[in-house]
């Protein structure tokens, strides 16, 4: 695999594999694996926003869940500030959980419906003994202020808020722990455009204020192109292209990235210069041999059906895995 520089990085993932066993029969023997994440290497620097895009089912969320140890990895390593998350045990996991926070897509199911806002925001702080009980209210008010919400929200329950406000509460909860890295898993996808813009602006402001790094996962390329410094494109459990966002948008090299970008409806442009891909994403339990994209690739050649392409640097840290580039 490609050796990405891990200097000055907050998070360095190399050759990570998360496979889920498929069990059959009365002895529930493992008959195969769903290769949700299959050899991913990524690097996030301090203060950087890394966008991760791909179609549904390509493994974006599994990657996020593996980083926070919600799903078990099969092999590979995830270095957070030099320590491997996968081998971290016991009490050290607690400090890890404090430093890496995650914001989920659906603000309706990610907040506890029986906890008031003040409890939701300070639960982690008190659990980690970061503040004494008497500072609870001050701290919660300050957090609400950070995400531009009224102080009268303190003693209200999640059901009293709209989707946009709930997502703000989720963000406030994430920053309360003073993390170094926040994983945003489709954090703005469920919101209306006018609210989406508010939340995106908020995320950027908070990043600058608290010197955060984000792993920003989304299927919406226009949102990622707006917020991310670097962008990685994922297809069937693997990274197929990884470069500066400007390079990805302006001169995508991989045919999949090209199709993905051309398919985004955009205002004011000619509607007919599209690459329309055939078919759906194949199953991750039985990925095609050779290049995983070859059954849908508009320019594939014989070699693509047999040889697996490697992620290679094509200059200016533009990594792409395609035989034809």
């Amino acid at each position: 695999m490609v050796d990405l520089k891990t200097n000055f990085s907050v998070l360095g993932i190399s050759d990570l594999k998360t496979w889920f066993p498929i069990r059959r029969g009365i002895l529930s023997r493992t008959v195969g694996y769903t290769r949700a994440v299959d050899g991913v290497s990524l690097n996030i620097k301090q203060g950087e926003i890394l966008g991760l895009v791909g179609e549904s089912g390509c493994g974006k969320t599994t990657l996020a869940r593996t980083i926070v140890k919600l799903d078990p990895a099969k092999s590979g390593s995830i270095l957070f500030e030099g320590n491997d998350i996968l081998t971290t045990k016991g009490g050290n996991i607690r400090s890890l959980r404090q430093n890496i926070q995650i914001i989920f897509q659906d603000p309706f199911s990610s907040l506890n419906p029986r906890m008031t806002v003040i409890d939701t925001l300070t639960e982690g702080l008190i659990e980690h003994k970061m503040i004494p009980n008497r500072q609870k209210k001050d701290k919660a008010l300050q957090l609400l202020n950070d995400v531009a919400m009224d102080s009268d929200s303190l003693y209200r329950y999640p059901h009293e808020f709209s989707g946009g406000q709930r997502q703000r509460i989720s963000i406030a909860r994430a920053i309360s722990m003073k993390p170094k890295l926040i994983i945003c898993d489709e954090a703005v996808s469920a919101l209306d455009v006018s609210i989406q813009a508010q939340v995106i602006n908020l995320l950027i402001d908070l990043k600058n204020k608290h010197k955060l790094s984000y792993l920003f996962i989304s299927h919406d390329l226009s949102v990622v192109s707006y917020i991310a410094d670097k962008t990685a494109v994922m297809y069937l459990g693997q990274i197929v292209e990884n470069a500066d966002t400007a390079d990805i948008i302006n001169k995508p090299l991989h045919p999949y990235t090209q199709a993905l970008i051309s398919d985004v409806p955009r205002i004011g442009e000619n509607k007919d210069k599209r690459t329309i891909l055939k078919g759906d994403v194949p199953s991750a339990s039985n990925p095609p041999p050779g290049c995983r994209f070859h059954p849908r690739c508009p320019i594939g050649v014989q070699k693509c059906t047999t040889d697996v392409p490697r992620l290679e640097n094509k200059g200016n840290n533009h990594f792409v895995s395609c035989h034809l580039v």
Binding site: E55, V193, S194, Q198, N201, L221, I227, A246, A259, V264
Partner: protein, 321 residues
């Protein structure tokens, strides 16, 4: 231009335990033959209620049509007997829903669902109907249609079930298709495939009412667009007009708040605040609390739609432009 569908002054309310919700208020628009009209707005603004009411799919109670007419082919769809409406549903006006997984029956295979539609609207034997269904699956690009006719919806991916829905909608060559967020649940690559299909049917002079919250889709697919906010139409116009010079402050704000795929790092212009609660719309203009141009009159009087050339907008400031 010949009007195919004409919605006049349609108001619908819902009775709930907490009070009456005025979901849509005096909505009117028309669709010409062969035209694609986009209906755009945020969640809860009444887009879906409007589209469902055309085929009388609003459950009553709790829903109630307070006023209005929906004229299709010189008939008021709201007052004709239900038996007559059933002949129109599917054959003359068909509908594509947002969630293909819940819109298809989980208990019947795809083939039987296609055959049912064909047999309901025409005197046709089962074998012939099955062949037509299979041909349609082929037409919309589903591989191995012979085998997939026997598939149940849970065996298909989201994109494939949406294509089955589209086949069902196109099969009887309707005059009007209502598509309610047809691609919102799908990936962009699949979305592009679906739009390709929809453009094909536009060539056959079929009209389309396309409901979406995505302005990019409106630009790609539509001839005209109606913008809804808090249960009302706030602006109607041609695509070119609306995108080049939006008249209503809400349309302007909506267009400004979309992140575009090009790289420019200015701050997104978000719309402050949120949509007012449908239980309690403010007196005067419903956009007053979020608008940059609000003045005294906006808080006291409710603006009517002002007609300017081929455009209409619900704002006091439009005349001065």
């Amino acid at each position: 231009m010949e009007k195919l569908l004409d919605i006049k002054d349609l108001s619908i309310s819902f009775k709930t335990d907490e009070g009456t919700i005025h979901a849509i208020d005096k909505v009117f628009f028309s669709i010409n033959k062969g035209e694609v009209l986009g209906l755009v707005g945020e969640s809860g603004c009444g887009k879906s209620v409007t589209s469902m009411s055309v085929l009388r799919l609003i459950a009553s109670p709790p829903g109630n049509i307070d006023s209005g007419k929906i004229i299709f082919d010189n008939k008021d769809l709201l007052s004709i007997p239900i038996e007559e409406l059933k002949k129109i549903r599917g054959k003359f006006i068909s509908m594509i829903f947002q969630e293909p997984m819940t819109a298809l029956s989980p208990l019947h295979c795809v083939g039987n669902q296609l055959v049912e539609t064909l047999q309901f609207h025409g005197n046709i034997d089962y074998k012939k109907a099955w062949e037509i269904g299979e041909q349609w699956l082929h037409n919309i690009g589903i591989g191995d249609p012979g085998k997939n006719m026997y598939a149940y919806p849970f065996q298909l991916s989201g994109g494939m079930s949406q294509r089955v829905m589209i086949a069902m909608a196109l099969m009887l060559d309707p005059k009007l298709i209502i598509a309610d967020e047809p691609t919102t649940a799908l990936d962009v690559t699949i979305q592009a495939q679906i739009f390709d299909l929809m453009r094909e049917m536009k060539k056959k002079d079929t009209s389309l009412l396309l409901i979406t919250h995505n302005m990019g889709i409106i630009w790609e697919m539509c001839d005209r667009v109606a913008v809804m906010y808090a249960g009302e139409i706030v602006e109607i116009g041609t695509i070119k007009g609306i995108f080049q010079e939006p008249l209503h402050p809400y349309t302007q704000a909506l267009l400004n708040s979309i992140p575009s795929i090009s790289i420019k790092r200015e701050k997104l212009k978000s719309i402050p605040g949120q949509v007012p609660s449908p239980f309690n719309y403010p007196k005067g203009c419903r956009f007053q609390d979020r608008c940059n141009y609000t003045f005294d009159k906006c808080r006291k009087e409710h603006p009517d739609l002002e007609k300017i050339n081929d455009r209409q907008a619900r704002c006091f400031l439009v005349k001065n432009k």
